[in-house]
Symmetry: C2
């Protein structure tokens, strides 16, 4: 069976390719996971085309892997068993903005920045910010979140409705435009985060927010990571509505200083952003500062001017690049555990201890309001012993988090990297997930080899 020839019967031939460069582009994401070529890449333009592609693939038992822009961090788009890479590059339209409803309907290939550029005209914004300029489809597939989740929630909280094509080509809608519903099972929630294993998203309706009246950023330096995390917990406890609250450890600030030639204090640092009205913000900022100083903060600076805000956050924004540029040829394995707040300081100290014990190079950065942190472990993927050591550190960080009520992945998803921890985390519940998978994709054509490895 020639997959390329068969697909050319479904869409115009020029939208199906087995060109080696295109196959290579669709073989990988931004992670350390080993690339794998698909047999063909196809660029559908409509839901009907996606439906016909899936129907054909299902009848012929050919794997299908949806592809957005390849910014994932756990190998979700890697066609582990070959087959079709379904690229949404040509399905990137903003279908309808409904400003009065705070809703937008988009095709899955729309990127976050493309969307926010359009929404600015309406005084609205889409809140989820994972850092990368990811596609909305990819963010829905992995249940992405990032720096703003502490205030506005995660991707799953924003999705009101999706058009989904099932394994056999059936089209369904998972929700409605209503802000809430108790009608039937929560299919929005089931499909968001399913990483292409239950269906393919062809349209997504998202919740939006009004651009806040005012925003303030702040940066606070602390003697230890523990002091910074305790401050973050105190701020959550005081219900100060921070819009972002990011931890960067001293090692990471040092790396940024080396990369950018800056002189930020090389100690544990919290970066804040507050959204609101002027009077409320003033109060929030003063209260946050008070809590920081009670926990040993030695330097608290803030900015309301937008250019200076960007400069204040620079050390946070340049973190990943500072490490990648500082260690040319290396890749980053990024851990992604999330724990209850009371366990966060201990977990970060434990992770830092592991890095020191193994002598690995790496920074720690955390979405601390959510209890989520990342260790960036710099490795050369061609050096098996480095890979092995990083994997062992990752495993130990996951084990620690799971033993304290946490999860192995707060926002990057399972993909290839976290599949081995699914049984440990979910126990019997993994069988329930698999029963759902089997019921909806009996031939296992949808992104096979992800999430479930038993």
């Amino acid at each position: 069976m020639n997959i390329v020839e068969a697909l050319k019967e479904i869409v115009e031939p020029e939208r199906v390719t087995a060109n080696p460069t295109m196959l290579a582009q669709h073989s990988k994401d931004e992670s350390y996971h080993t690339p794998k070529l698909p047999d063909a890449v196809i660029f559908p333009k409509t839901t009907e085309e996606v439906s016909r592609i899936l129907k054909w693939a299902n009848e012929n038992r050919v794997p299908v892997v949806p592809f957005g822009i390849g910014s994932g961090l756990e190998g979700q788009v890697i066609p582990q068993q070959g087959g079709i890479s379904l690229s949404f590059q040509m399905m990137n339209k903003i279908v309808e903005v409904r400003p009065q409803d705070f809703l937008v309907r988009v095709q899955p290939g729309v990127t976050r920045m493309q969307l926010n550029k359009e929404l600015k005209k309406y005084g609205l914004f889409f809140s989820v910010d994972p850092g990368a300029d990811a596609t909305i489809g990819g963010m829905a597939a992995t249940n992405a979140s990032g720096t703003t989740a502490v205030r506005y929630g995660i991707m799953r909280d924003q999705v009101r409705d999706m058009e989904v094509v099932l394994a056999d080509g059936t089209m369904i809608r998972t929700g409605s435009m209503a802000a809430k519903s108790s009608s039937g099972y929560h299919l929005n929630g089931l499909f968001v985060g399913s990483e292409g294993t239950l269906g393919v998203f062809t349209e997504i309706t998202l919740r939006l927010y009004g651009i806040p009246e005012m925003s303030v950023t702040a940066r606070a330096s602390f003697p230890t990571v523990g002091d910074a995390v305790r401050t973050a917990c105190a701020i959550m406890g005081a219900a100060i509505p921070v819009a972002r609250m990011e931890l960067v450890d001293g090692q990471s600030v040092r790396q940024v200083n080396m990369y950018k030639g800056t002189d930020y204090p090389e100690c544990a640092t919290l970066f804040f952003e507050f959204h609101g009205n002027e009077a409320g913000l003033k109060h929030d900022l003063a209260f946050a500062r008070e809590l920081a100083e009670e926990n040993g903060c030695g330097g608290f600076v803030f900015e309301t001017d937008s250019l200076r805000q960007a400069a204040l956050w620079e050390a946070r924004h340049h973190l990943a690049y500072a490490f990648l540029h500082g260690y040319p040829g290396k890749k980053a394995i990024t851990t992604d555990v999330c724990l209850p707040l009371s366990e966060l300081a201990g977990a970060i100290e434990h992770a830092r201890g592991l890095l020191e014990k193994t002598g690995m190079v790496g920074g720690i950065v955390g979405h601390v309001g959510d209890g989520n942190f990342h260790s960036l472990l710099m490795i050369d993927p061609d050096q098996p012993e480095e890979m092995q050591q990083a994997e062992a550190v990752n495993a130990e960080i996951v084990r620690y988090a799971l033993s304290r009520g946490g999860t192995c992945t707060g926002e990057h998803g399972v993909g290839l990297g976290k599949a081995k921890y699914q049984r440990m985390e979910h126990g019997n519940a993994l069988d329930v997930m698999y029963a759902v998978k089997r019921a909806l994709d009996p031939n296992n054509i949808l992104n096979p080899g992800k999430i479930f490895v038993f």
Copy 2:
């Protein structure tokens, strides 16, 4: 097969009963739906007992219907096909409060007020307020929400983890204590709102909030319902973080005045509650007032004293009783549609038009920040023509909402009353829901006859 005798082998005999009074108590909820007796009522004390009961019921194909306190509004606890009513009256312990994590673990029989009384000691509260003193298990089963959802979200947003017993007696956990996760499918979301059809909840971990520094209530009167709804939409648009925002129409205020002897202005009224810090609240209140006055508000009053706050909200709180007392012997059929905000004013006008056209007595009350409103239709369940007329009005209200991107139930759930609208609302997606149901409960013992009627 004698169900009672068999169950007495599983738990102590005194916790199994077929006493007619007990059967009658477990035959109904607060809705107009026709009661149906179970064959037996059982009061488990532990998860292990629930597991053994379900294992036996599954092997013997006996229906099991979980029962909290019977405050539901769509007949979810009515044992439509007989069998076992599984009452959680004896599983009503607050297992663990984790103040630093803003979490609490409870058994399903704990009620909302019981929980908030305990949490007050820690300066915390559980946010969902459906009005009734419902059990946490029942609220999770129906994905309840109510007046505070506009600020704090619905039940599904609060559930971090559940212990669930599946049809065959297997125990699983659906989540963790982490604030967010991208690990595997979203089982919390799938089980919340499943109305006892996928599994039985035996423990629930909930998100909590700090009691706000300050709260203010306000009441605003408007010439028309449209003016009130437009104000509500403007307030949402301005991102003023209202904690509650309730619409009560003029007919309903009149009913309250008759019942309580009060003299509230008999016109469309918005009731507000704001939570925050003093400076921010002052600003929010002034801004809300400005928006109300721009939309024709002729009277805006507010209170910060807690007793006076209660008095200010009295008309809202007494609404249902005012109607029930005003029409002795009648019951209320309560519609529950939820629409995108831009469609809300039209939908409420449409509903009011239907009431006037049919000459039915009824009030309209709305959680307008969410686009959710209820028409209380007063009927005598023994008068078939009244029932029929109310059902026809309900159907027309649902049809209108679905045609404009809404849902047939914003918060009361499907149960018996909304099952007939499931295909109209969900189309093909209903088959996906049913595939999940079949995969998890192949013998259809879990609350059969609910949600799915095909």
